[in-house]
């Protein structure tokens, strides 16, 4: 497929751009942060997102969604990234809907997908256990006990953990940390006995939590997909998540780049605008090249997912690794090129910088994806 948006996708982009710029500007995140919002997201904004059909963007129309697919999701995330919009899109519309679609039974799909599309259900993926993304390293256990499953262990960096109604928990029914086999997924009510959710406050002022499971007993039919064989479905949805985060990062670096470029044309020193200085000019031009490459890899990753191409993992790792590097470069330059004012909380550069590092860690940083890219390429 050609690497351009269709007419329909272009319309979606324009709509998303207008929505996030007008309804969810960066001041929205500042407000949540400064008022120490207990939810960490704006419920009225989420309601609007639901009404626009973004919450069900991945979900087929029969199940209450809009069925725009991965490219549509990526487009929305890119626009959300531009204004640092703090919403449950990632946890619920992408990972939650994605995992239920990929691994859920017909019954689970029929019950849960309409709730997601309708904004009645928030989910969170409880996957990570260490400071670095590594699905194979999951150690948390799920023991079978008659027709019950007993979950024990500790998860961290659970995005939207403290607002989720349902947790999607990745745990081991067999094997040991490091094995790709033996992983299973479970739908767990966030209020179930033995589940303790502790919100953590991260540098990007967005939602994350630690969740501990103390002999949590759930019925075996709440497994999401077959026991012991979750890896394939999980990875395919993680790839969707990675591509969407890359799209969100792209929106972020575009915003930083645009703002910085405008500043280079406005700020005067030595009687001239600072954009006169070649030392800055060339770096701005370099960033422009970087943003262009980022746009290509993100669109290709989303297209690969859309078309179910067999090189999805490589295309996604290419995007996530590149965006990690580019976001680091551009967020640093954003601060540096603003000079002293870039170090202040009053301008947005710092907010983008902080968000960029968290995005970079989400579902694998540059090192993780570079190494995965090489492995998939057989070198």
């Amino acid at each position: 497929m050609a690497l351009v948006l269709t007419e329909e996708q272009t319309m979606l982009r324009d709509m998303a751009k207008q929505f996030f710029t007008e309804q969810v500007p960066v001041t929205n995140l500042r407000k949540l942060r400064d008022e120490e919002s207990a939810d960490g997201y704006d419920k009225a904004v989420w309601q609007q997102i639901v009404e626009l059909g973004f919450a069900g963007i991945l979900i087929p129309e029969e199940q209450g969604g809009t069925g725009f697919g991965p490219i549509g999701l990526g487009i929305v995330m890119q626009e959300a990234g531009r204004t640092l919009a703090a919403t449950p899109l990632y946890s619920t519309a992408i990972l939650g809907a994605g995992l239920i679609l990929a691994a859920g039974s017909d019954g689970q799909k029929a019950e849960l997908l309409p709730q997601i599309a309708g904004g009645e259900l928030l989910t969170a993926l409880a996957l990570e256990e260490t400071a670095h993304h590594n699905p194979k390293q999951v150690a948390m256990t799920a023991a079978q006990d008659g027709d019950q499953i007993i979950l024990s262990g500790q998860k961290n960096f659970v995005i939207d953990g403290h607002i989720a109604d349902k947790l999607i928990v990745v745990a081991r029914t067999s094997g040991a940390a490091g094995d790709a086999n033996g992983l299973s997924m479970f739908l767990v009510d966030a209020k179930a006995k033995g589940v303790t959710v502790t919100r953590t406050h991260m540098v990007d002022s967005r939602n994350a939590a630690m969740v501990s499971f103390d002999k949590v007993s759930i019925p075996a039919h709440d497994a999401l997909g077959p026991l012991g064989a979750a890896m394939a479905e999980l990875e395919s949805v993680l790839d969707l998540g990675r591509a969407c985060i890359a799209a969100e990062m792209l929106g972020g670096i575009e915003a930083v780049f645009d703002t910085t470029l405008a500043y280079l044309k406005e700020r005067k020193q030595f009687g001239v605008i600072i954009g006169t200085f070649q030392a800055l000019k060339h770096r701005a031009a370099e960033m422009f090249c970087e943003v262009e490459l980022c746009q290509s890899v993100v669109l290709d990753a989303l297209s690969a997912l859309d078309e179910r191409r067999n090189d999805v993992p490589r295309a996604v790792s290419l995007a996530k690794a590149r965006l990690g590097d580019a976001a680091r470069l551009i967020s640093n330059e954003g601060v540096q090129m603003h000079g002293g004012i870039g170090m202040t909380d009053a301008v947005d550069m710092g907010l983008y910088l902080k968000r960029a590092r968290v995005q970079s860690q989400l579902l694998g940083d540059t090192n993780f994806h570079r190494s995965r890219y090489a492995e998939l390429g057989g070198y």
């Binding site: 990570e128 260490t130 400071a131 670095h132 993304h133 961290n156 960096f157 502790t198 953590t200 406050h201 991260m202 540098v203 990007d204 002022s205 630690m210 005067k268 020193q269 030595f270 009687g271 600072i274 200085f277 070649q278 030392a279 800055l280 680091r328 640093n332 601060v335 540096q336 000079g339 002293g340 870039g342 170090m343 202040t344 909380d345 009053a346 550069m349 710092g350 910088l353 902080k354 590092r357 968290v358 860690q361 940083d365 090192n367 570079r370 190494s371």
Partner: protein
């Protein structure tokens, strides 16, 4: 025994006796001994240690004894430093007065000024801040507009400074002011202003790291006695630049990383903790290479600092060393923190509260603060311009 051996023995004995135990432990940020009228000492030993060191002039070891300094030779000062390091003694006083203003006063101030101000600095009685940058004059520092008008027996100062570190906690400010508007560099003077004077107001600005160490400083009809002018009228730029060299040398020391949570030694241990070990190696090859590269850069930088110190002692000067060290040291420091983020993963991304220990949280905040290192004291771009112009002789556009 040579004189220096005797000096070492006596110094060791004195430090052993006089440095309180708690002053031999790593210093938490809030115990930084800034001194000044409003100084608070969460740890009372900090005050005892400061007073004891100041009584010998050892807060400013090489300043002449007549102004309150230690009057030590370079060799003696180095021995004092070594003996302090030996017992991990904290610095007794952290101050812009010591690092920046004092050396400039020694070179340019009148006898009365030296007598008055240097002693106060040595004893940590007055805390100074730096009033250079203005909203319209950052990299183009000489474009500053804060005006000091000659009113016969005093100057009347009007204008605004910005990014003034710690202004809201300081007692005095050393300011660059315009005393002649018809010329640029030759119309700048160097003025000392008591922050208690009516018309001086400092408003804190919040940084991306969450702290508010710097301020906007407003100067409105501030009356400043004429005797507070340092050096000649309209010759302030020379003093300003010399002072900036001292500032840069101080900032570039950050490249060495100091002690504390983010110190160099911990890097490989943390990498092994996070990525596992393969024999003695950090198991992740990419992280291993990044850590190694960083450590080698760090070592090369340390050697260059040492070479500059040795050459200075031998009476040779390394040209524009201050700009080079400022540039390299601060960029290195920023890279170190980015690498720490890679090594520590999500544990380096906490802001506050549960889930992160104190060391991790301090690394996050220091990572954010490090972004200012290549801006304060002249940006990296300005340092490179200075090197290109003054050392390499490359002409302006």
């Amino acid at each position: 025994m040579t004189d220096l051996d005797t000096f070492r023995a006596e110094t060791r004995a004195w430090l052993e006796e006089n440095c309180p135990e708690s002053m031999r432990t790593p210093m938490p940020e809030r115990e930084t001994p800034w001194g000044g009228r409003n100084a608070d000492f969460p740890n009372p030993d900090t005050k005892i240690w400061l007073d004891r060191m100041a009584s010998r002039g050892w807060t400013a070891p090489e300043w002449p004894a007549e102004y309150g300094g230690g009057g030590l030779s370079k060799d003696e000062a180095r021995i004092l430093q070594q003996e302090m390091s030996r017992i991990n003694a904290r610095t007794p006083l952290a101050s812009f007065g010591l690092w920046m203003l004092g050396p400039a006063l020694l070179e340019f101030a009148s006898e009365e000024q030296k007598k008055k101000y240097l002693g106060e600095i040595v004893r940590g009685e007055i805390r100074w801040c730096q009033g250079y940058s203005e909203p319209g004059a950052g990299s183009d520092l000489a474009g500053l507009q804060t005006k000091a008008e000659d009113k016969g027996d005093h100057y009347l100062v009007n204008g605004q400074k910005v990014w003034t570190s710690y202004a809201d906690q300081c007692d005095w400010i050393f300011c660059l002011v315009r005393t002649d508007s018809s010329v640029k560099h030759d119309g700048i003077s160097f003025l000392l202003i008591d922050m208690n004077t009516p018309g001086v107001e400092a408003r804190p600005i919040k940084l991306i790291s969450g702290a508010s160490p710097f301020c906007e400083t407003f100067l409105t009809d501030v009356v400043v006695p004429k005797e507070n002018l340092v050096g000649e009228l309209n010759k302030g730029w020379t003093i300003a630049k010399r002072l900036l060299e001292h500032e840069r040398t101080m900032i570039s020391a950050m490249g060495m990383g100091g002690g504390g949570a983010a110190s160099m030694g911990g890097m490989e241990a943390m990498a092994k903790e996070n990525f596992g070990e393969d024999g003695d190696k950090i198991a992740n090859p990419a992280i291993r290479e990044a850590v190694t590269n960083h450590k080698m850069d760090h070592q090369a930088f340390a050697l260059t600092l040492k070479r500059a110190a040795d050459e200075a002692k031998a009476g040779q000067g390394m040209g524009a060393a201050a700009s080079m060290f400022k540039y390299y040291g601060t960029e290195l420091n920023k890279r170190r923190f980015e690498l720490l983020l890679d090594v520590m993963g999500t544990q380096a991304l906490g802001w506050e509260g549960e889930g992160f220990d104190a060391r991790e949280l301090s690394i996050t905040r220091s990572w954010l603060r490090s972004k200012g290192n290549s801006i304060e004291g002249g940006t990296s771009e300005v340092q490179l311009n200075v090197i290109a112009k003054r050392v390499l002789g490359l002409p302006d556009a």
